[in-house]
C-alpha cells in the first residue's frame, strides 16, 4: 500500500538519527471519504507534511455542462455533491433562473426549502456519522443512517429517487408533494428531535470524542478567510457568516425575519476556537436549525402551482450569472454563461469541498496520524465535488 522512499534525514537529540517516512494514504483508505489520496510525510507518528492528491473521481462535469442542454444538465448536478443533491439542483436552478428572470410560484419555493433543508440534515448526518467512524465509533454512524433512511423514503415519495433527485427544476419543482407527505415530514421532525439528542449524548459530548477533536486542527478566522473557506468551516471558527441570512435567496430572508432559525457558531467551548470539535458542533446544531426551518415552511405552506411555465427546450438569454447558495458544506457556486442558445457556454461549479480541502495541507504538519484523520474528517468533503 505504501511505497517506501527514504526522505530527508533529521538529527535528533541524543544523536538518534531518524528518517521521515512517506506514507501514502489512499486512494483506497477508510479515512479519505472516497477516493482522495494524501501523501503524508511522517516522523514516526507525527505528521510533518501532507499533500492531498485529487482527481480520482474527476468526471468532467463542467465539460458535460457545455455539451448538454440546460435541463439535461440537471441530473449531473445531483452527482457531484451526492450527499446534498437537492441543494445542488437548487443552486443550478437558481443560476439559470437568474439569467432567465423567471418568477417561481410560492408553493414551489416552500417545497424547495423543505427539501433543501431535509437534505442538509441528511448530509450532516452522514458528515457527523462518518466523522464518528473516523474517530473510531462505529455505532453512532449506523444510528444516523437509520434516521437518514427515513429521510430517503420521504424523498422517494416526493420524487422517486433515493439519492440523485433532480427534483428541484428550473422554474420550480418537478411535481407537487403527494398527499400526506407534509404531515409525514412533520412526524419525521418530531422523531428526529428526540434522536438528535441521542447523537449528542452518544458522541458529541463523549469524553473520548472531545479529547480526540478539541484543540486539533485549529483554523483561525483570518486563515479561514484567506483560504476562502465557507459553511461550517468558517462558522466553526466563529465567523458569523451564513448565505441564507447574509445574502438571502429564495424564502430565507422571510424565514430569518420571522425568527425561525438562528446560526450556530463555534465558541471554542471544549478547546481552542475553530478546532475540529467546533466544526462538528456547528454541524450538529445546524441539523436542529434545519428542522426549525422545515417546521416554519410546513406551517405556512399553501396550495398553489409548483412550477412556472417554462418551455421543454430551454433557451436561456445571453449573459452570465453567478449564484452562491449555502450548501451543507459551504458556498456552492454556479457560474453559468449563456450565448442565448440551447447549451451553456460555460457551466462552472464552485464546490465548497474543493476549497475547504485546501486548508488540510496547512493544518496537518505537527499533528499525529490519528489527528490527521480527524482533520480530514472535520472538513467533511465529498470527493464527487472536489473532483467534479
Amino acid at each position: 500500500m505504501a511505497e517506501s522512499t527514504a526522505t530527508t534525514e533529521r538529527e535528533f537529540m541524543l544523536d538518534v538519527r531518524t528518517q521521515d517516512m512517506e506514507v501514502n494514504m489512499g486512494p483506497q483508505h477508510p479515512a479519505t471519504h472516497g477516493v482522495m489520496r494524501i501523501l503524508m510525510r511522517a516522523d514516526g507518528e507525527i505528521c510533518t507534511g501532507a499533500q492531498p492528491h485529487l482527481g480520482y473521481l474527476h468526471r468532467c462535469a463542467e465539460k458535460i455542462g457545455e455539451n448538454v442542454e440546460w435541463l439535461q444538465y440537471l441530473p449531473y448536478t445531483d452527482r457531484y455533491d451526492y450527499l446534498a443533491a437537492m441543494n445542488n439542483n437548487l443552486g443550478y436552478s437558481l443560476a439559470v433562473e437568474k439569467l432567465m428572470g423567471i418568477e417561481i410560484p410560492r408553493r414551489a419555493l416552500m417545497i424547495r426549502t423543505i427539501c433543501a433543508e431535509l437534505n442538509r440534515i441528511g448530509s450532516h448526518l452522514i458528515a457527523f456519522g462518518t466523522y464518528g467512524l473516523d474517530i473510531g465509533a462505529f455505532t453512532p454512524f449506523l444510528y444516523m443512517f437509520r434516521e437518514r433512511e427515513w429521510m430517503m423514503a420521504l424523498f422517494e415519495k416526493i420524487c422517486g429517487a433515493r439519492l440523485t433527485y433532480s427534483y428541484i427544476r428550473i422554474g420550480g419543482v418537478f411535481n407537487d408533494a403527494p398527499p400526506g407527505w407534509l404531515s409525514e415530514v412533520e412526524r419525521f421532525c418530531d422523531v428526529f428531535e428526540e434522536k438528535w439528542q441521542e447523537y449528542v449524548d452518544l458522541l458529541m459530548v463523549n469524553h473520548i470524542f472531545v479529547q480526540r477533536t478539541a484543540n486539533i486542527g485549529v483554523i483561525s478566522p483570518a486563515m479561514a478567510l484567506d483560504f476562502g473557506l465557507s459553511g461550517p468551516m468558517v462558522r466553526g471558527s466563529g465567523i458569523d457568516w451564513d448565505l441564507r441570512r447574509d445574502m438571502p435567496y429564495e424564502l430565507y430572508a422571510e424565514i430569518w425575519k420571522a425568527g425561525a432559525f438562528s446560526i450556530p457558531l463555534g465558541k471554542g467551548e471544549r478547546g481552542a476556537l475553530g478546532d475540529c470539535w467546533d466544526r462538528a458542533y456547528v454541524r450538529v446544531m445546524e441539523m436542529m436549525e434545519s428542522i426549525k426551518i422545515v417546521r416554519w415552511c410546513l406551517d405556512s405552506i399553501a396550495p398553489g402551482p409548483v412550477i412556472a411555465d417554462i418551455p421543454k427546450t430551454l433557451r436561456v438569454p445571453a449573459g452570465e450569472a453567478y449564484v452562491g447558495i449555502e450548501n451543507p458544506r459551504g458556498e456552492l457556486g454556479h457560474y453559468v454563461v449563456s450565448d442565448g442558445g440551447k447549451v451553456a457556454v460555460r457551466c462552472r461549479v464552485r464546490g465548497p469541498s474543493f476549497t475547504n480541502l485546501a486548508v488540510v495541507e496547512e493544518l496537518m504538519p505537527g499533528t499525529l496520524i490519528a489527528d490527521a484523520v480527524a482533520i480530514i474528517g472535520s472538513t467533511d468533503i465529498v470527493v464527487g465535488e472536489t473532483d467534479r
Binding site: 483508505h29 468532467c60 465539460k63 458535460i64 455539451n67 452527482r79 443512517f145 433515493r162 439519492l163
Partner: protein, 166 residues
C-alpha cells in the same frame, strides 16, 4: 488448493465436497471498504440497519484488500483511479469477485459521451462477475447482485473438473 484444484472427475463425493466449499464461500463474501462515488453511499446504506448486508454474511467490510473477497466497484471509474483499481484487484487473494455497481461502473453511465477521463465500464480494467443496474442502484438491487453472485459461486467447480463446454 493448488494440487487438488479441478483434478477430480465428477461423482457423488466430489460434488458434495464442492457444494460444501462453495456454500462456505458464498456465505462469507467479505467486501472491501472501497467506495468511489454516489453508489458508495448506497453501499453504505446496504451495510446499515435498514438493509443489513450482514444477514448474508457479507457484512464484514475489510479495509485491506488482502482480506477481502469481493470488490464492489461503487461509482465512476476514471483513468487515474483505474490503475489503482487494477492494483487493488491484484492485491486480493483468489477466489475474488467483482461487482460493478451502478451505471458508471458498468459502462460509463451518464458520463459515457462527454466524460473524457471516465473509463467506460470497469470491465475494461478488471473482470466483473455481476453487474448491478441503476444510477445509483437501490440497496435492494445491490443485495440482489450479491445473491446473484452467491448463485454464481454455488455453481463453480472447486475440486471437480469443470463441465466441458463444446
Amino acid at each position: 488448493m493448488g494440487l487438488l484444484e479441478q483434478q477430480f472427475e465428477e461423482n457423488v463425493l466430489t460434488t458434495k465436497v464442492d457444494w460444501l466449499i462453495n456454500w462456505c464461500r458464498l456465505q462469507s463474501v467479505w467486501p472491501m471498504t472501497f467506495g468511489l462515488a454516489c453508489c458508495a453511499i448506497e453501499m453504505m446504506a446496504v451495510g446499515c440497519a435498514h438493509h443489513d448486508i450482514d444477514r448474508f454474511g457479507a457484512g464484514a467490510f475489510r479495509a485491506s484488500p488482502r482480506q477481502a473477497d469481493l470488490m464492489i466497484v461503487a461509482g465512476t471509474v476514471n483513468f487515474k483511479m483505474a490503475e489503482r483499481i487494477k492494483r487493488l484487484y491484484d492485491q486480493m487473494p483468489s477466489p475474488k469477485y467483482v461487482i460493478a455497481m451502478g451505471a458508471c461502473a458498468t459502462g460509463g453511465g451518464p458520463y459515457y459521451k462527454y466524460g473524457y477521463t471516465v473509463v467506460k465500464g470497469v470491465d475494461r480494467v478488471v473482470p466483473v462477475d455481476v453487474y448491478v443496474a441503476g444510477c445509483p442502484p437501490r440497496p435492494e438491487a445491490l443485495l440482489e447482485g450479491l445473491m446473484k453472485l452467491q448463485e454464481k459461486i454455488q455453481q463453480s467447480s472447486v475440486i471437480r473438473r469443470p463441465a466441458r463446454t463444446a
